[in-house]
Symmetry: C3
Subunit: 428 residues, 3 copies
Amino acid sequence: MIILFGVFIRYDEESDAHWVEFRRENNITSDIENDFYFRYPSFQDVHVMIFVGFGFLMTFLKRYSFGGVGFNFLIAAFGLQWALLMQGWFHALNPETGKITIGVESLINADFCCAGSLIAYGALLGKVSPVQLLVVTLFGVTLFAVEEYIILDLLHCRDAGGSMVIHAFGGYYGLAISWVLYRPNLHQSKRLNGSVYHSDVFAMIGTLFLWMFWPSFNSAITDHGDGQHRAAINTYLALASSVLTTVAISSMSQKRGKLDMVHIQNATLAGGVAMGTAAEFMITPYGSLIVGFCTGIISTFGYLFVTPFLEKHLKLQDTCGVHNLHAMPGMLGGFIGAIVAAAADESVYSREGLINTFDFEGEFANRSVGTQGGFQAAGTCVAIAFGLVGGAIVGFILRFPIWGDPADDNCYDDEVYWEVCGSFELLQ
Amino acid sequence: MIILFGVFIRYDEESDAHWVEFRRENNITSDIENDFYFRYPSFQDVHVMIFVGFGFLMTFLKRYSFGGVGFNFLIAAFGLQWALLMQGWFHALNPETGKITIGVESLINADFCCAGSLIAYGALLGKVSPVQLLVVTLFGVTLFAVEEYIILDLLHCRDAGGSMVIHAFGGYYGLAISWVLYRPNLHQSKRLNGSVYHSDVFAMIGTLFLWMFWPSFNSAITDHGDGQHRAAINTYLALASSVLTTVAISSMSQKRGKLDMVHIQNATLAGGVAMGTAAEFMITPYGSLIVGFCTGIISTFGYLFVTPFLEKHLKLQDTCGVHNLHAMPGMLGGFIGAIVAAAADESVYSREGLINTFDFEGEFANRSVGTQGGFQAAGTCVAIAFGLVGGAIVGFILRFPIWGDPADDNCYDDEVYWEVCGSFELLQ
Amino acid sequence: MIILFGVFIRYDEESDAHWVEFRRENNITSDIENDFYFRYPSFQDVHVMIFVGFGFLMTFLKRYSFGGVGFNFLIAAFGLQWALLMQGWFHALNPETGKITIGVESLINADFCCAGSLIAYGALLGKVSPVQLLVVTLFGVTLFAVEEYIILDLLHCRDAGGSMVIHAFGGYYGLAISWVLYRPNLHQSKRLNGSVYHSDVFAMIGTLFLWMFWPSFNSAITDHGDGQHRAAINTYLALASSVLTTVAISSMSQKRGKLDMVHIQNATLAGGVAMGTAAEFMITPYGSLIVGFCTGIISTFGYLFVTPFLEKHLKLQDTCGVHNLHAMPGMLGGFIGAIVAAAADESVYSREGLINTFDFEGEFANRSVGTQGGFQAAGTCVAIAFGLVGGAIVGFILRFPIWGDPADDNCYDDEVYWEVCGSFELLQ
């Protein structure tokens, strides 16, 4: 990794000490116009989502909190280095010098790229070894960079918050791996596949940091100015709306109207996933509420009916329910983005706004919004296909008996990979 | 809600795709001058305070952590949608188009508006049902918008951090509700009205995020430039000072000098509440220290003597002690603001600074600082009156036996509203 | 403290209401160029590291979580007030008016200054009383201000993230105190010097917030523009690299390849410490990876071999292992900075970039990079000397029997200084 970085990676103009000269040549009047000040606060919010958000969301199992937060830490730290290289080769390679230049936007993209693999980890939680996770991440990041190149560069889709490239891809990638790695005797660990009171409170830390910072996630790499502003507002509204429908459905579905922590921890976030593509468009505030309203319902029903169905009939064990939180809302988000793009209109966006939002420049200058909508839908399908096929292949690689995966009666148990103390045995 | 948003809510100029044209027409040289970059980092800090800060602060009860953080999540997500509408009607309605335009400042204000109801929840924690909380929030947000309109628009007070409009109002609103809902047999749940070791550590997460981000809370909607800068510094100093006096008083009050976690979790924050109004004024750094010093003492004494007194003699059960953390320091903060405003001086502020700080423009161009001080004091009284009267009315509404509130021996118990696991019974 | 603030401390130009005039006189075109918008997001990240990061990192002991997070809160809140005064006297005293002016950069520096004492607390955790901690902080902040003045102003070193002035100083300061306060009978509390499952999860909150926000820590007070941008990138890479080597070494060192939570909680951060000085230099991305790679290894080996060695042969009890996380990586970071500075080159930095980065202006205009490297190395030695000598003196002061320190069999126990509830006894 160090050698590859040595050969390829350099600072970009805005983080290089030559910035003073670059600034003068480009008539930039002030240091505050360095991209750092546009994006660094959003970067830190995304960073918190990746490490604390995803990490603590996966601490809910009674005896797998170390593995949830610790392996999340490991694979994100590994994935982001590999992502800087892979995304650099596909997006930022300077053909003259053969170098990749990185700045704060590259760091955000690297974090996004890890998110795909972390989502896949959600489906595998407790059933794989850390070495297997590194393999999942290695291939996951590579596949991500390729599908992102196809969707964003070749098909010229817009996908600021990654409904397609992150959530739909990551979700189906994890599900396909989990399907290949099906364990018929997993019921031997059934007693550990649940939470204790305080592990659920830890998981709420993850939920809340994901929920709060999702507007930053969806706006982090959108256009400067109104693009970032609008994406944040839309995501904020969709998320608020998801919470209400999740609570309502969760309460109605249980006998005596009790709420289920699993729904509150997960389905409340579905609105943010589904707004990933459309957040930067002029979807209108009430459009955002409608998206959040519907995905909250769909995601909660997913936890109630789809996950048990998948496990029973499709032999697919999905520990965190990534199907309901990422795969399905991500796919929906991709199609919502296609519809909103196809419905875009110069009277709503203004001529210049339309060009800025969809980046209709260069070879794409004459593309119509209808065509753009079609390409957005095609992009969603590409993401799902990459997830399913790539996941199946990686799953078969992981079935070689060399990776040290846990036995069927040792799943969901930190004792296999961590030094634990005496009182650990009391957690059941 | 979706219909109301559809009819009324639109993006403002800075989040609309027409921004490119707006920027050109208004001679704005760079995207970085979009209000998003002035306020978004502060917005995210406030957002963390509302959801993680308030939420985790209320996890301290041994068997009500789900309810503390979960219902906080629910009512904040509901409240902010309603707040965008209510505040829009009173503050941001364009009389020509009949539309409300929203931007990042609206989101901050919506979060502020929820804070009032969340403070009220602190007094009611463990004794009401989620449906009752939604009613509290519905009326709380509505009352908030009205009193805010009277105080900020009609009386033209300044109240950047909301000592008056948020803390004094929210505190007395919650206390009045709690007083009406007095439960004479609450002692039947007494064994659950306390903490276990780890629930106190969870509550410290809330305390620390509130404490750290309070400078952002008080500076989030102040004037660009020196206003935000000064408000953050003043709040930072007042909070630091509160911590020291809280620890000192807490230690002196207990036998053998031991510290009480309840004081550390709550009274350390009183300095931020009391600086809510005066933070943007030239109160001077040592003035901030004095405010923090005094409120730390008053708030800790409140926990030691006033809360037991209220419960015993006024029949007022205040679970989190919002009287000591919000109501009293908020009221003090309002009067401190009045004094500092009345003492403002051109030699300290400069002529232009005075106009900017107090917004002496338009019909208020000739108001003197003395008059401004009087109006600030009047605003504080308005906030308290709204809280007490509004809270009493809402309390009576909540006494109808249709809301599913818990029985006297089931208070402070998550089992009533949440699915809990087996080990839950061990928490006592 | 209030009196001292009243005599000395004033707002600086950018936080004073005279800012409108100052802006006009200095041809600043927009409010966004107020230093607040350059630094406030970084300040809040640093603030989170000090209070949540350091605080929760020290909650890992099974029965000392209150003390870990609570006393951290106390001494940081005390230290930052004292730091504003001490650093002001040495750095920001206006000789004409006799006043210290403060702005957002002063707040960041005050937080940095506290960090030195909090690091020292890590070595003393569980073995000292809160009064002793206040003494440690009082002297720690004072010594910090003096050594910082010598290193940054007299020797004209660059040390943006404080490898020398914060980590090397703070680490050796704590170790020297702990060495003087050696307790031969500490084994009587041995049963409490360990973690339970959930206390380790709490500590991960601290680890992750430190890890995520370290790029902000190292970039918070670097030059506007490219300086902040580059420092953040370098630190991000070094940290990611540390995580991988820490996991690898931790797994290899244990029988059956199990991971040790102590390593994951601490050694993963060593890369950030070691990049403290060099982060703003053109160390190149692969240089950052190399630094993180090496310090991850060294720090983990420290936990495995050096800490037990120190305890056994040097009679030095280091509760949190600050030697491995702060002292040694900080010292290394200082020397790495010296080497990178000595190797600086106009072709890499450009003439202007070199002047900006090393601040070769005024009396230092003719200093060569080689000389600068020598001074950087000298600065590191000054920091270590201040830590060791200052710590020894403070240690002897703390041996007077007037400070209420816990008995040998009451160490690591919250019951001595906190009111605790009944279930506390079960934690073992």
